[in-house]
Symmetry: D2
Subunit: 187 residues, 4 copies
Amino acid sequence: MLKIIAQSLGSVLLIASFPSFASEPALVDRTITLKNISDAEQAWCNALIDISSVNTKEGQAAAKKLAEKVIDSAYGYQFGTVAFKPTLTVNPQTFRTSRDGALAYFVGGDASFPKDTGFALKDWTKCEVTNAAVLLLGNYANSMGKVKMTDKKGGVTTVDKTWGWVKDDKGQMRIVLHHSSLEFAGQ
Amino acid sequence: MLKIIAQSLGSVLLIASFPSFASEPALVDRTITLKNISDAEQAWCNALIDISSVNTKEGQAAAKKLAEKVIDSAYGYQFGTVAFKPTLTVNPQTFRTSRDGALAYFVGGDASFPKDTGFALKDWTKCEVTNAAVLLLGNYANSMGKVKMTDKKGGVTTVDKTWGWVKDDKGQMRIVLHHSSLEFAGQ
Amino acid sequence: MLKIIAQSLGSVLLIASFPSFASEPALVDRTITLKNISDAEQAWCNALIDISSVNTKEGQAAAKKLAEKVIDSAYGYQFGTVAFKPTLTVNPQTFRTSRDGALAYFVGGDASFPKDTGFALKDWTKCEVTNAAVLLLGNYANSMGKVKMTDKKGGVTTVDKTWGWVKDDKGQMRIVLHHSSLEFAGQ
Amino acid sequence: MLKIIAQSLGSVLLIASFPSFASEPALVDRTITLKNISDAEQAWCNALIDISSVNTKEGQAAAKKLAEKVIDSAYGYQFGTVAFKPTLTVNPQTFRTSRDGALAYFVGGDASFPKDTGFALKDWTKCEVTNAAVLLLGNYANSMGKVKMTDKKGGVTTVDKTWGWVKDDKGQMRIVLHHSSLEFAGQ
């Protein structure tokens, strides 16, 4: 009975001093912030330019090696798949749900994806993201907007892009969804 | 020592009969299933056809009224915005982050969105979804795939589409992300 | 090649001016912050004191009415159930997975819960929360710590408490999990 | 008009055969199911019994080694902290937000936690979980109920227990919240 317990233990309860915690509680924070997103978007842009640059200076094999590193650190293929619709793919290989498909899209040279010439090899020198909408849904977030890429000849390609983000167990942002499309040219 | 506790408290503990619960625990289930997604996708398709049909039979005003009902029940504008990139929009109104912008896209007739002629008014009679990738991330999910729409003359439009889904507080699936794009026509 | 695309589609692409967005994207933010949690915890404490105060001044019926309002605005019974283990309940009614069970615990007077005398009616005048750990997991969060309640005679009850929080569709914090227990008195 | 688009781009669109996907989309499923929970709960029970058994047969050092393995595979300390309120801890060490604190609780022998005698060393031979409420909130879930543990002399300890679960990046269930308390003995 608590009455009995209270009799035998109760004095302890009453004299128990209130515990002193550190001023801040121990904290786990797996939420995604706007800054996490803009940093990760800019990292994607920088990686695109880096792959182009390595391709120019060291060739496709080196560019491919870098692209693998980028994919393995920035995408979430280790979760099983990524919902990836790149800008310039056609049927029946529109969607690149495997790591191989993503790699082929970025650097080409894969006989299984014969139409891929390597989007990241197009001499990109500048890449800017402007978000139209951001959804912070917890440990998942979406960003949607325009990405404007400039090549070394000054040619500009602007795409409509959606990214879906998770934070992995180490707090690293990873792309689990990527839908990119050329702007609709009008009617 | 627990032994000592057991001695002082244990008689109570020992005679405590194990509580009998109903065979199943009280349950809250806010997760999204594959079936939730395919049902909601088909509901989107059906709504598109319904709006077309109402437009033909009763005119644009009735179609608009139905479209409002569809948007209010199937999209998540009440959360503040929806990340919506419709198939056929152009700058500077590519993204329809407001309910008004979504409505104008589907049924036109809004002077603020002068290029919108009403995507849902194009006499659609058939609409099929084939998912390429689905991400069940908890109370958020993504689906990405092809949506093939047929009009009454047999014309077919196939788009690459991504939807982001949440379950609202009542368990209703809602679109919080929608990126649709014409297939890339190749090179 | 993108060059070839640029030739066929590019005139439009090249003249497309980059869209000007508002400086900030349209935003949905459903994440839970530390401040959301401390505000909601303090609101729980304040409600406890308010119910005690109303009980003293206006009687149990008025206290019950207020308690209903508190439960309906601060707990998540509308989602189907709340995982609620109050401090002072015994078998077979330890867990209060229904709204009725929660109400009976706080204000008593329910023949279906004959052992409930009304925890919120114990003349509480002060209530303080000190968190030991907080988990911000996205649109769900946990806080665990000590809650120290003082009654009008200066009696102090300190409990170990865990709360699980969601933000509902309107952004309101709601308790979906509540486990409270007397401090273990030692051995 | 889509008709005009169809005229300019349409030959490609119209001849595009509908892509044939595998019958099922590529899938990521990070949701937590009722079965995931009951399996993980039973695994926790089994680990408790195993540690007791190893302690009896091989001594505390071996039990400690096993407990470390259990903690590292079943709890989420790698995320920064676990919100852990064990059954039999007292101020100022009620909460075990560090891995060291959890280990000391289960197997004792840590001078920094002088009151810990090792809960898992109490010769447990049987452990049963009965859930009263389960909340499936996506990639997070809560279970709350009774855990009834029997030692080799037939002594029974029943506790009220709440667990908070996440699936880690590899799909492994991990405890990020654990609140355990002796049953309230009544008044």
